[in-house]
């Protein structure tokens, strides 16, 4: 494909040659301000498609130019220059003061970065190219202040979650995601190669998004062609090998057998293993399970533009295998992207952005009890690879992980078309009207086959009848914005911009699902409902529909005086179909202001300070959660047996709350932007304070007399709380050219967040999450004055060494495991009542970090470039909950340090199969999960200009990189960065699929 295009280009050039005696133009482009060469300036022969791009030294060459031709020089941040062609041209470009800074999206408009009055972070395409994220979400981790990105699984195709300035809601903390003006629910449909920039709105400036803006807004701009640029074809590819970043340190066979023997002996039972001596290391299930897996990515794009048309076309395929069972766990993503901009005339412009996306995925059971990894770390090292637990010794839930993989069959396919059509019409020079329709239509289908299997007696995963379950879903949405922007400058002093408009959003969809029984031959090859004959009496098929709508009007007024004093105010009226009529309309307001001190006379000529601005914002935003809570529907389950057959009826669903409304955030931000020493040093600092009021508390615990435990029922969701997040963000960035050949950039950012529950109007503290199996007291809490979702359990104080110590200490008889013995954990009598029971539970940790940090560093030397990205979270805890409480399961190797007699250990309790309180949720299970992760190391080599010219290329770069190179942490589990994202019940490690380390070799070519 690219060859054909290249040939075409060459032959076109020949065609021109035939017509006239043409010249060859070469020269250098420099900045008039500092005389430094400008890299990447677009030079095009006017009204033709030929041209060139300046190289690292600002040099360019264009051959076969007609003598009377005009060359157009365009470069971002500089004024466009048109000059008659000459054989030698040394050109100085003037800085364009209007666009000196990046243009930043602020929702329904854009603004020069230096004029911003809100707290905004931006990640550009260079960073995305460096980080090579599989999902564009990863590009925000460690590169911006105030944003944290997490996943609960490293398996291919698993999703990511964002938190902007921490957790405020215990329902939903996902920011609003907007791509080229249309709203999406995740970025998984986007190909990172197609992204131009990511913009994060963190404060009250996002009030223009009203009821959807409380968790912050992430705006994505996709790549577009540039006007008057020659067609450029790029081919980017990489291939990588993936491996696990971590294996848990478990006991080997002899250590395991010794521990099991010891625990049996401690409870007076006979020893299961008579001869430990010859057992050796046994099977290392993790070594057997984890594999190296391949990933490849290919991306081809074409972009360019003429006077009135710009275009960008891209196609990408990503193919990623899982590091466990790559034939059963993998991900393939295809994207085709088209962005087209057409200036129909001087006044009317249209833009079309389209993205086709498809993804195919297979998964294994990957998180928590019942997952492949959980089985692998619990299974006995004495067992052979194909050995089932026939005795059984592990209880009902643990089976051979390889058998589990063997019997896992599923497939998922989804595809979408999304994009928008936009028209901008300039009514007068000051007034522009924009209307755009963004849409997304996604459909998917899934199939899961569960064969007849027998993993040994009593196993919950045994199936006596094979089933195949299939589903089809359709998700549609549109976002229709219409707004007018009036821009006026009065007497060159008063700059005014007003925007009014309306947004209509509709999300709707439906789905069908069904299950067939008795699959022929018990085989995946025959797994389709069409071939099943069996039926079940139960209702095994179903459907659903949804339809949510939002109607909004908004207005924004921006004013500045001589660009020095900046002020803006906005208001938005939102109405949502998710709430009862009386509660569906609300107004959101905010004001922002800024003062560019560096434009004042006393700083204007400063040698040190190039730019200094202070800014502030305050306003209210909403969090649109709590769909249809006001409806009391008959959605419960009512099934009984009459005449020996299942009979279905109706029953109440979750308790309705007619007064439910959305959550509201009140946000304050005070910030400072500064640049020093010739723009080499940049500092951005922010203080923020947010109160989240009318917090929607889902599943508010209520009295059992309300019948909420009936099948299909549930607790009501009630606006019953307030949280406060307070914090600081700081970013420092330094870039310099040491010589013409050597330049570097160092950047550090840190965000400190303190989240506290101020008020919860529930009669009992809200609890969530789960710990262990069959332990009734949830480990996570939401309580006034404490961090959201903090860990609530018993506090430990070492190990009882002797019976005398036990006798002298307050009795633990009030705990489920009864009185303590030597070797058991000593719990603290927190309430001082002389006995230890569940009332002595207290704060023992919190899931969210105090500090989020990024440290990033890059160097360019001649044709080489090197970059390192680092991310850290400090001051967070995680709960070790991937250990199954069964006598015969394998354990982490820290149990080697267990108590075996007085003085042997004061940290790890004795081994016994008897009932103890050691398994109760206590700080023994809470670990510091602070970590520093080197996210990416990359070294690249670009061919020098002369070579490029010789082979007719504009860019050839080879690189090697490592993603997730190292993680420094004391945390014992697979991944200290993983979380299920829940505000209440987060930070509990049920056994996460670890993040993968990727060794990547890649190539970028442009011509």
């Amino acid at each position: 494909m690219k060859k054909i295009f290249y040939t075409l280009l060459v032959s076109l050039t020949f065609a021109t040659t035939a017509m006239a005696q043409n010249i060859s133009v070469s020269g250098t482009v420099k900045s008039s301000a500092d005389g430094l060469p400008l890299i990447g300036v677009n030079i095009i022969v006017k009204n033709t498609s030929s041209g060139a791009v300046s190289d690292f030294d600002g040099n360019f060459t264009i051959s076969n130019v007609q003598p009377n031709a005009t060359l157009v020089f365009t470069y971002v941040g500089f004024e466009t220059l048109e000059l008659p062609a000459a054989s030698v041209m040394n050109v100085d470009l003037e800085e364009d003061n209007e666009s000196l800074d990046e243009i930043v999206l602020i929702g329904y408009g854009s603004k020069s970065r230096k004029d911003l009055t809100g707290s905004v972070s931006i990640v550009g395409s260079e960073t995305i190219e460096k980080l090579k994220p599989v999902d564009v979400s990863q590009a925000l981790q460690g590169t911006t202040t105030g944003v944290s990105v997490s996943t609960q699984s490293g398996s291919p195709g698993s999703g990511f979650r964002f938190l902007i300035r921490g957790v405020s809601s215990n329902t939903d903390n996902d920011p609003l995601l907007v791509v080229d003006g249309y709203i999406v629910s995740s970025f998984n449909s986007l190909n990172p190669d197609d992204i131009e920039s990511l913009t994060v709105l963190k404060d009250a400036q996002a009030a223009i998004y009203g009821v959807e803006g409380a968790n912050g807004v992430i705006l994505v701009t996709t790549k577009k062609g540039k006007k008057n640029t020659a067609p450029q074809v790029s081919y980017n590819t990489y291939a990588g090998i993936q491996e696990t970043t971590k294996k848990l340190s478990l006991l080997n066979a002899s250590e395991y057998a010794a521990l099991v023997n010891e625990s049996y002996a401690a409870n007076g039972q006979s020893l299961p293993y008579s001869n430990i001596a010859g057992l050796g290391a046994g099977t290392n299930w993790q070594d057997e399970l984890f594999d190296q897996a391949l990933m490849t990515n290919h991306n081809v794009s074409l972009s360019g533009g003429t006077d009135n048309v710009t275009y960008y076309l891209g196609a990408t395929r990503l193919d990623q295998d899982g590091i466990i069972a790559s034939d059963k766990s993998n991900y393939i993503r295809d994207n085709i992207k088209l962005n087209l901009g057409i200036d129909i005339n001087d006044r009317l412009k249209s833009t079309i952005n389209l993205n086709y996306f498809s993804n195919k995925r297979k998964t294994i059971n990957e998180s928590g009890l019942g997952s492949v990894l959980f089985n692998a770390i619990s299974y006995s090292p004495l067992f052979a690879l194909d050995q089932e637990d026939l005795a059984p010794i592990f209880g009902a839930e643990i089976i051979n992980p390889f058998s589990q993989i063997r019997d896992t069959y599923n497939t998922y396919f989804g595809s979408s078309i999304e994009g928008n059509f936009q028209l901008d019409y300039k009514l007068t020079d000051d007034l522009t009207v924009t209307s755009r329709m963004g849409f997304k239509t996604y459909s998917d289908k899934g199939k899961t086959f569960s064969p007849i299997v027998d993993y040994g007696p009593n196993k919950v995963f045994n199936t006596s009848r094979s089933t195949v379950s299939q589903s089809k879903n359709q998700y549609d949405s549109y976002t229709w914005d219409t707004f007018a922007t009036y821009k006026k400058s009065i007497a060159d002093k008063h700059n005014l911009e007003a925007t009014v408009g309306t947004t209509v959003i509709k999300n709707w969809g439906d789905g069908l699902f069904a299950t067939g029984f008795d699959v022929p031959n018990n085989s995946w090859d025959f797994a389709d409902i069409a071939l099943t004959t069996g039926t079940s009496d139960a209702k095994e098929n179903g459907s659903y529909t949804y339809d949510n709508r939002l109607l909004s009007y908004f207005g924004r007024l921006q004013y500045d005086f001589k660009g020095k004093y900046l002020l803006s105010a906005m208001i938005r009226r939102d109405g949502s179909s998710a709430f009862a009529k009386d509660n569906r309309i609300d107004y959101f307001k905010s004001v922002t202001a800024g003062w560019k001190i560096s434009d004042e006379n006393f700083l204007k000529d400063s040698e040190v300070i190039d730019f200094l601005k202070i800014r502030g914002s305050y306003g209210t935003l909403g969090n649109l959660v709590g769909n249809d809570l006001y409806r009391s529907a008959l959605s419960g389950e009512a099934t009984y047996v009459f005449d020996g057959a299942l009979t279905n009826g109706v029953a109440n669903g979750p308790i309705a709350n007619a007064n439910a409304k959305w959550e509201t955030a009140e946000k304050l931000d005070i910030g400072l932007d500064a640049k020093f020493f010739g723009n080499k040093l940049e500092i951005v600092a922010d203080y923020f304070l947010e109160d989240r009021v009318d917090l929607l508390i889902p599943g508010l615990p209520v009295s059992g007399i309300l019948g909420t435990t009936a099948p299909g029922s549930g607790s009501p969701t009630v606006n019953a709380g307030t949280t406060r997040s307070e914090g600081l963000e700081f970013l420092i960035n330094y870039s310099d050219n040491i010589t013409d050949d050597l330049s570097y950039n160092v950047s550090y950012n840190v965000t400190k967040i303190e989240g506290t529950v101020i008020d919860v109007n529930a009669e009992v503290p809200l609890t969530g999450g789960s710990f262990g199996v069959g332990q009734p007291l949830p480990p996570s809490r939401m309580e006034n004055g404490q961090p959201i979702g903090y860990f609530y359990g018993l506090q430990t104080d070492g190990i009882f060494q002797t019976q005398a110590e036990v006798d002298a200490y307050p009795s633990q008889a009030g705990l489920p495991g009864g009185v303590a013995s030597p070797g058991d954990i000593r719990f603290v009598d927190v309430n001082g009542d002389g006995e230890i029971n569940s009332d002595d539970r207290t704060f023992i940790g919190k899931p969210l970090a105090d500090y989020y940090m990024g440290f990033n560093f890059s160097v360019n030397y001649k044709s080489f470039d090197l970059s390192v990205y680092t991310y850290a979270e400090v001051g967070k805890d995680m709960v070790r909950n991937y250990e199954r409480d069964e006598p015969d399961v394998n354990r982490l190797d820290f149990y080697l340090d267990r108590w075996t007699g007085p003085g042997t250990s004061n940290t790890v309790p004795r081994a016994t199969t008897g009932a103890t309180n050691n398994k109760l949720f206590s700080d023994f299970y809470v670990e510091d999960a602070s970590f520093v992760r080197i996210q990416n190391i990359q070294i690249g080599y670009s061919l020098p200009q002369e070579t490029l010219e010789a082979i007719g290329m504009s860019k050839v770069r080879l690189y090697a990189s490592v993603n997730n190179a190292f993680t420094f942490t004391n945390y014992k589990g697979f991944d200290p960065a993983a979380t299920n994202g829940a505000a209440l019940g987060g930070g509990i490690d049920y056994g996460f699929y670890p993040t993968v380390r990727q060794y990547i070799l890649g190539l970028n070519i442009s011509f």
């Binding site: 028209l423 229709w480 009007y553 949502s576 009512a638 005449d643 059992g704 019948g707 332990q775």
Partner: protein, 558 residues
């Protein structure tokens, strides 16, 4: 020309804007179609009532835990399970060390109140739509409300009842959030008065036959009413209503005691009220009350039963057991008459009978082997049988492919060697979903034998008619021994003791024992760890005490 273009564009844009604003009235928000039925506008036809009625029945299946714990709490069984920490809530109740922090007790409270609430939802709308047969349907719902209340009053004593006076007249009102702060606990007497009122309505509006198998009958209502009287020591009221159901109802003792607890014995002539289960739709551990199967049965199953082929020396050989062996095995067992050709599926070995209860059976009592499975006896009956495996032919080390079958199991926690045979998982059941949670064994809630024994007790303890009591008692004993040679002729308190003994052996494993001991004041002498004045009632779950914020006080001594 250019101007024209501009005008066309301008018109285009304005049309767009205008359409946008026009369509953007707030009515746009009203037109969603999300297909759900509002619970407050329901009950518009007989079908609607019938559908809601099914919802009221549904919670009966959740009472499996009451039955299981009724045994575990008593002197009939030990908790068992996998280890001392397997279901701590069960273990604590077995040891009488339970506190108000007990998720299983909370299940009993919440699930039975869920049943009450569904009944009251129906009763709230009972007068909305007129249709034929409405009174009978209302009668079923009131029976069910009484059933749930009866369970709750047995476990927890005084209960919150909304709009008590209206409820007594047959009205129903659902609890709403906040009621826990204002609705106080009605006394035990008041709760029983409501139960009686509901059941009397059911008695007078139902027939002895029901429209569908599994639905409430007049006989069920009479039997439960009699039982409620008996629990209050209202012996003459109890005797009257029991005499009536014995004399006028359609019930008889099944000829074979053994047949009652097999699948074929469900809803038989002895069945007065039975909670219906099926193996057709399961659930997971996250919602045990959602299962349409009898969850208790899987919990009581034999721990890891398996037949393994062994050689002459009893050493296991590697190699699979062929299908033909399985059918041979079943054939041999059938021809030996052992277990009527049936074996049992595995389970979690909870609720294991004690040696003491096994020893309580008299010599010649046929019920012992039907009620209590001796796992060693079962194994012994299989082990000596030698098999020829045609399919696998010669196996290394064993000539001619002949081998023995070793029946084995795993000793669970507190292994006694005994299992509650009445409610063991039967081999061959479908077990949709999780097979352990989806056993079809119906719970025989009220058997005619139970009615006879309760009638005997009422007539005897009420000093009404000891000879009638003897007749009822001996009907049960005659079936058990296959002869009337063992009939009881005693009277007075001796007869009372005989009736108590008979209740224990006739109904062992059926969840009645703990409450029988409590209501007859024998619990503290029979149950280890039972403290009189405390353990007669279970504690109100700690969360409920917290929710009520002082409105409800804890039961004594918890």
């Amino acid at each position: 020309m250019k101007n024209n273009k501009n005008i066309i564009s301008a018109i285009l844009v304005f049309t767009l804007v205008a359409t946008g604003i026009y369509s953007c009235s707030d009515e746009f928000l009203d037109e969603t179609q999300n297909y759900n039925i509002d619970s407050e506008t329901y009950f518009n036809s007989k079908d609607d009532y019938y559908m809601a009625l099914i919802g009221v029945y549904d919670l009966l299946q959740a009472s499996y835990v009451n039955v299981l714990l009724g045994e575990i709490a008593s002197d009939n069984t030990l908790c068992g399970g996998d280890s001392a920490t397997d279901v701590p809530g069960f273990q604590q109740i077995d040891d009488m060390s339970h506190t108000s922090v007990n998720s299983n007790l909370r299940d009993v409270w919440s699930w039975m109140f869920a049943g009450v609430n569904r009944a009251n939802y129906f009763l709230e709308f009972q007068d909305k739509t007129e249709f034929e047969g409405r009174n009978a349907m209302v009668a079923e719902v009131r029976f069910l409300r009484a059933y749930y209340h009866f369970e709750l009053v047995k476990w927890f004593g005084a209960l919150p009842i909304k709009n008590y006076d209206a409820a007594l007249q047959g009205a129903g009102t659902r609890f709403v959030p906040g009621d826990e702060l204002s609705v106080s606990r009605s006394s035990v007497e008041e709760v029983y008065a409501l139960i009686e009122s509901d059941l009397m309505f059911a008695v007078s509006n139902l027939e002895y036959s029901s429209l569908q198998v599994g639905r409430v009958t007049k006989g069920a209502a009479e039997a439960l009413l009699g039982k409620a009287y008996l629990y209050q020591d209202k012996f003459s009221d109890a005797a009257t209503v029991f005499d009536n159901v014995i004399n006028n109802g359609p019930y008889q003792l099944a000829i074979s005691y053994a047949s009652i607890f097999e699948n074929q014995g469900e809803n038989n002539v002895e069945s007065v009220f039975e909670v219906q289960y099926t193996d057709g739709e399961g659930a997971g551990f996250d919602c045990l009350q959602c299962s349409e199967g009898n969850v208790a049965v899987g919990f009581m199953g034999i721990r890891a039963p398996s037949y393994k082929p062994v050689d002459e020396n009893g050493e296991p050989f590697t190699g699979a057991i062929s299908e033909s062996i399985v059918s041979q095995l079943e054939g041999i067992l059938t021809s030996n008459g052992f277990l009527e050709g049936r074996l049992f599926d595995g389970g979690y070995s909870f609720n294991v009978p004690t040696q003491e209860v096994a020893d309580v059976f008299e010599e010649g009592d046929s019920r012992k082997d039907i009620s209590i499975l001796d796992i060693q006896d079962l194994s012994n009956s299989i082990a000596p049988i030698q098999f020829q495996d045609d399919e696998f032919g010669t196996v290394t080390g064993i000539e001619n492919g002949a081998y023995f079958i070793d029946y084995s199991w795993v000793n669970g926690y507190e292994h006694t060697g005994y299992y509650n045979r009445k409610y063991l998982p039967r081999r061959g059941d479908l077990g949709e979903g999780d097979p352990n949670l989806t056993n079809p064994n119906n719970y025989r809630s009220i058997r005619f034998a139970d009615v006879l024994l309760m009638a005997a007790e009422a007539n005897n303890r009420g000093g009404i008619d000891d000879s009638k009591a003897q007749v009822y008692l001996n009907m049960v004993r005659t079936r058990a021994f296959g002869t009337n040679a063992n009939n009881v002729t005693a009277a007075g308190t001796e007869l009372t003791d005989a009736i108590y003994h008979e209740r224990r052996v006739e109904l062992v494993g059926e969840g009645h024992r703990f409450f029988d001991l409590v209501r007859t004041s024998q619990a503290s002498s029979e149950i280890e760890g039972f403290q009189a004045g405390k353990h007669e009632l279970f504690p109100i779950p700690i969360q409920e005490i917290q929710f009520s914020n002082g409105n409800w006080s804890q039961n004594p001594n918890y």
